[in-house]
């Protein structure tokens, strides 16, 4: 094979060809078989044990009963209404928390006097479990959706704020030097370099935030509510409808998976350029 002269156009990254669909890897093939298999074995075994040993329904319901509760819950609209309420609390609270975290994070990272004044308080409040103020919030704001939104904000805000601040301050020195050498004004340095550079951190904060938002909504509903999935758990538990409780847990699991999927998709698009997080 002859060696091309070194100063020729460097070898192109990939020849211009229509993309071949990647053949499924062996791992993936195994996964497609094993994952459902584990599910079937677990659920099947569970059903068999509960029925065989005649386990009390208040202790551990059989999967078939749980499925029934799930179907009934949606058929009567009960679970659906509860889902809507909880989702509203989560999404509203998360958006409010995220926006405040971004704005406040920007201000704190850019204005030195704000940073040295407020940051110690943030550090101090970080370690306090914000969920502990849930009863207080319910006492102040009431049993409606509003109190849950406040609790979600309280719980999701701090991690997102800290990640935003850390991210905005983590801009590598050489990129800032580069922009300064070009004579770029301060706001351009922020907008063109600091902000994109902070995206991985901000995004990590958002991922944590959404998980905490779900937590905050559910626990908030435990503490005091008139509707919602967490409220349903408390009600069903009180009525010894354990199958119903499991049905709600399944709904919550699906919500969690859906948010995670959404987060991953958005991250892939936003952070396509990042070495590790792509």
């Amino acid at each position: 094979m002859t060696h091309a002269p070194a100063n020729a156009t460097p070898s192109p990254a990939a020849p211009a060809q229509p993309k071949r669909k990647r053949a499924m890897s062996a791992d993936r093939r195994m996964q497609l078989i094993l994952v459902p298999l584990v599910f079937i074995i677990t659920v099947g075994g569970w059903e068999a044990i509960v029925r065989g040993l005649n386990v009390n329904a208040f202790v551990l319901p059989a999967p078939s009963d749980i499925l029934l509760a799930l179907k009934q819950g949606f058929a009567t609209g009960l679970l659906w209404e509860a889902l809507k309420v909880t989702m509203l609390e989560i999404v509203l609270g998360f958006i409010l928390a995220a926006l405040s975290a971004l704005v406040l994070g920007t201000l704190i990272s850019q204005i030195r006097i704000l940073e040295i004044t407020i940051y110690p308080y943030i550090v101090a409040l970080q370690t306090v479990p914000k969920i502990a103020i849930a009863p207080l919030i319910v006492a102040w704001v009431g049993f409606g959706i509003e109190s849950k939104v406040v609790i979600v904000v309280a719980v999701a805000f701090f991690p997102m704020l800290v990640n935003t601040i850390v991210g905005l301050k983590a801009t590598p020195e050489d990129k800032i030097d580069l922009m300064r050498s070009l004579g770029a004004p301060r706001w351009k340095i922020f907008y063109m370099v600091q902000l994109p550079e902070a995206m991985p951190y901000i995004f990590a904060g958002l991922s944590i935030g959404i998980v905490l938002a779900v937590l905050g909504a559910i626990v908030g509903e435990f503490v005091g509510a008139k509707a919602g999935l967490g409220y349903q758990i408390v009600q069903m538990n009180y009525n010894l409808d354990i199958a119903g409780v499991f049905a709600v847990l399944i709904v919550l699991a699906v919500i969690g998976i859906a948010f995670d999927f959404l987060t991953t998709q958005v991250r892939r698009r936003l952070l396509f350029w990042h070495k590790e997080l792509r």
Partner: protein, 259 residues
Amino acid sequence: MTVKTIIECRKLGKSYETIDGDPVVALEEIDLKISEGEFICVVGPSGCGKSTLLKIFAGLLPYTSGAAELLGQPITGARRDIGVVFQNAVLLQWRNVLNNVLLPADAQGLPRRDYIDRAHELLAMVGLSGFENKYPFELSGGMQQRVSITRALVHDPALLLMDEPFGALDAMTREQMNLDLQRIWMQSGKTVFLITHSIPEAVFLGDRVVVMTARPGRMAGILDIPFARPRSLDVTATPEFGRIVTQIRKMLNVEQGID
């Protein structure tokens, strides 16, 4: 016809205040005059202040004594008529190659369409035609550095400052980049101020080589390099080349040599 002086400094000095006493002198008594179209190399050990000197020329650091002028104007801050290439390519990873090259236009609020043609021309000159839509993570170190050089030239600066631009590359890529840089310099007619750790690199590339010593950073001397252009790598094997490299080594009091 007088040749334009691009950059000039007289008795330039830079010292830092310390908390507990005597100021630290990074640079002292630097006298240098660079004319248009010259290729000046600065070589010296770590801590001799060569990066400090470059940052002063770039307007990134203020000097504390003496004078420094770019195109007759005292240097008081960043200037739009210089281009800087750092040791790391410092590309914005979220922008593709073309957008990275056009960064100076965006940073300075200038309309992109005035610079797009030039960007394409320069990319062709460095051998990166067809890579405009690639992202930094898809490029090798040498390719990234070439994008960085292109970016430094797109706004047609009067002076190109390069701070150990090939330091992060392997030796063979480095040699190739030296040749490419010479070619780009001859084609564009730019004035170049390049800092390096490598004595052979400095002698190969420069019209003149400034030798600096450390603590405090001072000029030990300036050598004229007599080889004709364009220089091929063969020139590095000539006795004359070896003589000059040895002379510089002696000026730096280096027994074992740097490269």
